[in-house]
Subunit: 331 residues, 2 copies
């Protein structure tokens, strides 16, 4: 069985962006409470790419969340983010209801620079308890690379969210949305830098010691820590911390990296029990590699063909680990 | 011959930080024009670690620049940064004069959020023409991770600096200083994220096409691009850009990464002509690896023992490439 643990609804009908355009330009007033108008047929059509991918690559389920760059936490206030999160989450819920044996919902949270984590919990509870979602996206850089800065993940500021997530048994995929810094490129540097920042902090701080039931997944292989492995180890040694290689046993990563060489490095360095299969359809790596004639995100073989992993290891990465850390997934 | 291309004066006598403390607390007034008081003996003593390292590891020369985290571009105004850069550069010049067969100077620039690149050039000209410096440090994130944002490196804003550097035949080591973002860790995520941002932009923009004589070195293996190689390739393919693997032939990287596995990856993916040996003494990776009993930054063997590199390749990495792109180095 294969579970794609990191898929975004990047192909949503244009009506969704149109709704957002009106919401932003009219400062929330006219669109509040108005239903997003997308027909069942339009919705099904917009999912064709994801369904084809599942069929072509023998993917059984996708954990499906709103488009990451569209979350726009940095724009507007809490109410703006709340309505927008509700709108996106309701649309994801329709997708999951329409294809219950294909898509599993993961939520956008109403993060915004003027809000605190306790304000995000009611939307999380709503999507989990009423819509059957199994996970959520957590953005560690709410303002998108500028001020006001988001407290580091080890800060007590985050505690209400961590407690709510652990209580609901809902893991978080740590994922940025847009950046306001013109020197950063959304897909080229902002996302992966966010991941590197997150991974470092999760190993460095005691947040996962204080919250042993909290499951956080750092996407894109976890940013850059495998490449800077001994840099991290040295910093831990130099401060008499728990060794880095021990601390990372509490952190989950996904495999949304796109070459065999890097996948091999990730498989060598991350604990096998902590790796979730992901290719992140459809985004950065949806293009065709002229060297192989296949899309860059066609990476199943990098795991399936790896000759140091046991069959049991491969099963864990493809689905076992996801089923373990996402207990709300019911097949 | 071995040239350490990336060494900072992290061990400078306390008088230097004391000077900075007074400069900042008294808003530049009392220290302007006052000489930094460090005796020759104190200066020589403070270099003992670097000199020992050179002897122990057969390093012939170090390209020596002020402490990166001390540059403090984000603090104060242009005049503050200018006096501080002059003070640091003069101290580096004393080091180079004291040990002319050991240290080669690279400059701190008076970058500050309120200044533009044309304002940094006279200090660059001073250190090159009067003090014999061969290179400089360029910080692509002047405000240290917040507003006001620094224009991206492909922006025309940078042109005066690039023209001055190319004209003087002075390469730039792209290196951040501190960060004001509490969610970033200086050594654990800020520096390497800066590098990842820089490397992406140098490959993505046409800045190195427009300035063919400009030599920019991205430290720490270049950030994270080797691990995200096909992510970058896909982004280039998807926008009909020059292939990533072609674009990176204009970018230099150094080897300040600390495990053999990552070094092997860098050596597989970066053009051999573009790799400069570096271990960055003394900082992040100066601690002793309990697994080997050697310091993490003791990485010479990773290159010397690599069995896919030719002797000629190794010579290029250890010194040939540095001598080529730093034409002002006179042995």
């Amino acid at each position: 069985m294969i579970i794609e643990s990191h898929a975004h609804f990047t192909t949503a009908p244009q009506a969704l962006d149109a709704y957002r355009g009106r919401q932003l330009s009219q400062r929330n007033r006219p669109t509040k409470g108005r239903a997003l108008k997308i027909s069942d047929q339009e919705l099904a059509d917009s999912l064709r790419g994801h369904l084809d991918r599942m069929e072509q690559q023998n993917v059984d389920r996708m954990i499906f969340s709103p488009r990451a760059s569209g979350m726009g936490h940095e724009v507007g206030d809490f109410k703006m983010s709340l309505y927008w999160a509700q709108t996106n989450n309701d649309l994801i819920a329709r997708v999951c209801e329409m294809f219950p044996d294909k898509f599993i919902g993961a939520a956008q949270l109403p993060q915004s620079p003027d809000s605190t984590p306790d304000q995000w919990i009611s939307e999380l509870e709503r999507v989990v308890n009423e819509l059957g979602f199994v996970g959520c996206i957590v953005n560690a850089d709410i303002s998108g690379g500028g001020q006001p800065f988001t407290p580091r993940l080890g800060d007590e500021w985050w505690t209400p969210l961590w407690e709510a997530m652990a209580g609901l048994e809902v893991p978080g995929l740590m994922h940025a949305t847009s950046t306001v810094n013109p020197a950063l490129h959304l897909n080229g540097s902002h996302y992966t830098n966010h991941d590197a920042m997150v991974f470092f902090e999760l190993a460095w701080s005691d947040v996962l010691v204080r919250h042993p039931d909290l499951k956080l997944i750092v996407p894109h292989g976890g940013g850059s820590w495998p490449f800077h492995y001994n840099r991290h180890r040295s910093l831990h040694v130099g401060t008499n911390r728990e060794p880095f290689e021990e601390a990372i046993k509490r952190i989950y990563v996904d495999t949304a990296i796109y070459d065999r060489d890097s996948m091999d490095m990730l498989l060598r360095k991350a604990p096998i029990d902590n790796i979730l299969f992901a290719t992140e359809p459809f985004g950065t790596s949806k293009h065709v590699d002229p060297e192989t004639g296949r899309t860059f995100d066609d990476t199943t073989a990098f795991i399936a063909e790896n000759d140091t992993l046991s069959a049991e290891d491969k099963e864990k990465i493809f689905s076992g680990n996801a089923l373990r850390i996402y207990p709300r997934i019911k097949l």
